[in-house]
Symmetry: C2
Subunit: 426 residues, 2 copies
């Protein structure tokens, strides 16, 4: 339902998808890129580049650990409000957003940057500056994108640009790790704009502006816990042992055949359980990750995995005594990121590709796991792009970005061109 | 060498072993039990029972965590000195001891109680008293035995008893858990009396006085760590995974056949490793415990285990790509308690049995893992007995003993009778 609605709205605003030849997208993009108002907008970004840097630093230094994005969200909400957006609000999940109204006739375009970092509470998030190089946990992933969104609003306003589409600017929660896309899940499942978003662009991470993530690597993550009666390693020898069930489960899991295309993977990440070397454990557990770009392949791996976990418990119950209790297996879904693909020939992907070509680069079409997974799985045209500039060591304590102006501005120019090409610029 | 020396000394003092019929031991024990000096000694224990209780409380309230027995050892050293022993000293490992000289002709008899508890630093060791019931961590295991040794010295002295054997009273370190018998290992391998101890009695825990632990359950404990190059669960899929090697290792280990007699066991106690659900771990590990009353069976299990760990690494290196690095396995021996058995027909076991019968009970011959494991493995006659009284919940925070006089004295009477029967009482 959502998907169909989004698609029909889209057709009204952007170049006709699928059928349109590549040159049509290039033409549209060139028209935007050459528009005098875009020049004014870009001059504004250039002139206010120091303010962008100040915003990046300010946002980075407000800690935003997983599930604890409140402080940064509150600050960002005020920043969105100060940028003159309407319907500025914080939804029930903690996402903050504001609307820039269009003149009508285009799909609602959501442009989102996630608020959360991977870093726990207590991490030193002080920004260390050395020339144009800024280092701090989370600075590139994703403070820069949050600040770029604000710079884009100011630029569009300064150039007095009117778009056909309404544009929803979002700082969302829960992109990283155990956050499990909770921000965008709420946005598309229960949020106030859930039925209206026609296109979705996630801006995530620093980077050169040639990467278009249109494929969603889906994942299913489980915590598997084998439990049993436990006992003394010597006195109770012969009773079922959850660690042996876990061992068998890991071995079985390791044998699942998967295709290399569509790429499908599985892994045991963390294992644990047991209290002492001389006790049969009460429980032994593992955390597993299964991924695929194909929903069908992901389902196939998951079904085999689920059967194997039960098989491992059953085999241990057969191999040793269950007089004091049996091995049971508990399967807790701890991560669920849907997979899918925004078609390469869709308007959003083709427009993004034309933008990359317009700045003289070759588009790279990639698959990843980002906030776009969710709309993609719903059939809503969605891609993830980067926020410009250079950077590295994302998710590490020595994460850094370089705000050297030329590369920093190029990324913003790309994003702005893309947004206006999709939103219909007057 | 030690074993042979110990055996020849033993023959001089105690009833001839092996060949001697049961009645000979009963006769010897009855002669000691009926000796007027034993009556004086037991009257002393009875009269000074309150002092025993005071000593139990005092020792319990000096914390003695694993590897941190120093404070309790220092206090006990002074108590041994105050009891008029000679050659009072603290050895290089932290054991404290003192000698009560005999008149000659008997083997040196070591009577040891371990100083250490299983409880970590910071555990509240305040004794809670309710009538004759005393509760505190470590009070039964092993403060009571430490205090009983002192009561025995006072009783023998008060009765002016001369023994043929020298008797070495020991408060030793490192009996529990990771202590891995370090106290008795030092005593028999490098300590000043290492070549002289002809018999060894460990007094360990409260109890009714009918249990004779003459069998040493040996154990070999390993921490097995599989390491590999690690990587992203999706991006680096196809590389070797230490968790899969661990799984295979656990499964292989679980299939080793073992005899029920001589009882032989194995277990995986604790597993761990990995940093996040979406990373191939750099390392995955487990702690395993193998035990047997038979050194040969223990060795057989261990040899199969060691081969299987290498096999698991090899198989993972065959199953997946090693382009970024191979799975390696590290085997760290974390526990080594030798096994063996002081023969049922040996003088020390038969004398202990006769003492149990003399108090109207039926001897129980058992196997366990105690300080006696070490001398037993060396062929030195050794048993572990309890310290009398009642108690429970050893190794738990609500550990308790009951110092009700009748059962408390009965255990001390047994120990005293045994010691004097073995030491040769004039």
């Amino acid at each position: 339902m959502l998907a169909a609605a989004a698609l029909s709205l889209l057709i009204g605003a952007a170049p006709r998808p699928a059928a349109a030849p590549q040159s049509t997208y290039d033409t549209t993009v060139r028209r935007v890129a050459d528009h005098p108002k875009l020049k004014v907008a870009l001059e504004t970004v250039d002139r206010e580049h120091d303010r962008l840097v100040t915003d990046i630093i300010r946002l980075t230094e407000i800690p935003a650990p997983p599930f604890k994005e409140d402080a940064r969200a509150a600050a960002y909400l005020e920043m969105l409000r100060a940028h003159g957006l309407t319907a500025v609000e914080r939804d029930a999940e903690g996402n903050v957003m504001g609307l820039r109204r269009g003149t009508g006739g285009g799909p609602l375009i959501a442009l989102a940057a996630h608020l959360d970092t991977v870093f726990p509470e207590g991490t030193d998030v002080t920004v260390k500056r050395d020339g144009t190089r800024l280092a701090a946990p989370g600075i590139g992933d994703n403070s820069r994108a949050l600040a770029v969104l604000l710079a884009m609003i100011r630029a569009i306003d300064a150039a007095q640009i009117h778009t056909a589409s309404d544009i929803l600017f979002i700082g969302n929660v829960g992109e990283e790790g155990h956050g499990d896309l909770r921000g965008v899940k709420h946005l598309f499942q229960r949020g106030p704009f859930r039925d209206r978003i026609g296109m979705f662009i996630s801006m995530d991470g620093a980077g050169g502006g040639d990467d278009i993530t249109h494929g969603a690597v889906g994942s299913r993550r489980y915590r598997v816990t084998f439990t049993g009666p436990g006992g003394h390693s010597y006195g109770a020898f012969g009773l079922v042992n959850p660690a042996f069930a876990l061992g068998d489960a890991m071995r079985l899991f390791s044998t699942i055949p998967v295709p290399s295309s569509p790429k499908t993977t599985y892994s045991v990440g963390v294992v644990g359980g047991g209290t002492s070397v001389n006790s049969i454990p009460f429980e032994s557990w593992m955390e597993v990750d299964m991924r695929s770009v194909s929903p069908a392949e992901l389902r196939k791996v998951e079904e085999q995995f689920l059967a194997m976990m039960q098989q491992a418990a059953d085999e241990e119950n057969k191999a040793r005594s269950t007089t004091q209790g049996r091995i049971a297996v508990d399967l807790k879904l701890m991560g669920d990121r849907p997979s899918g693909e925004t078609p390469r020939d869709s308007a959003i992907v083709q427009t993004a590709a034309a933008v990359v070509r317009a700045i003289g680069l070759t588009p790279r079409f990639s698959f990843s796991s980002t906030d776009s997974n969710l709309p993609i799985s719903l059939g809503i045209p969605a891609i993830t792009i980067d926020s410009g500039g250079r950077g590295g060591r994302a998710h590490a304590l020595d994460e850094w970005i370089d705000v050297e102006k030329a590369s920093s501005l190029q990324g913003i120019r790309s994003a702005l061109t893309l947004l206006l090409a999709l939103a219909g610029m007057e």
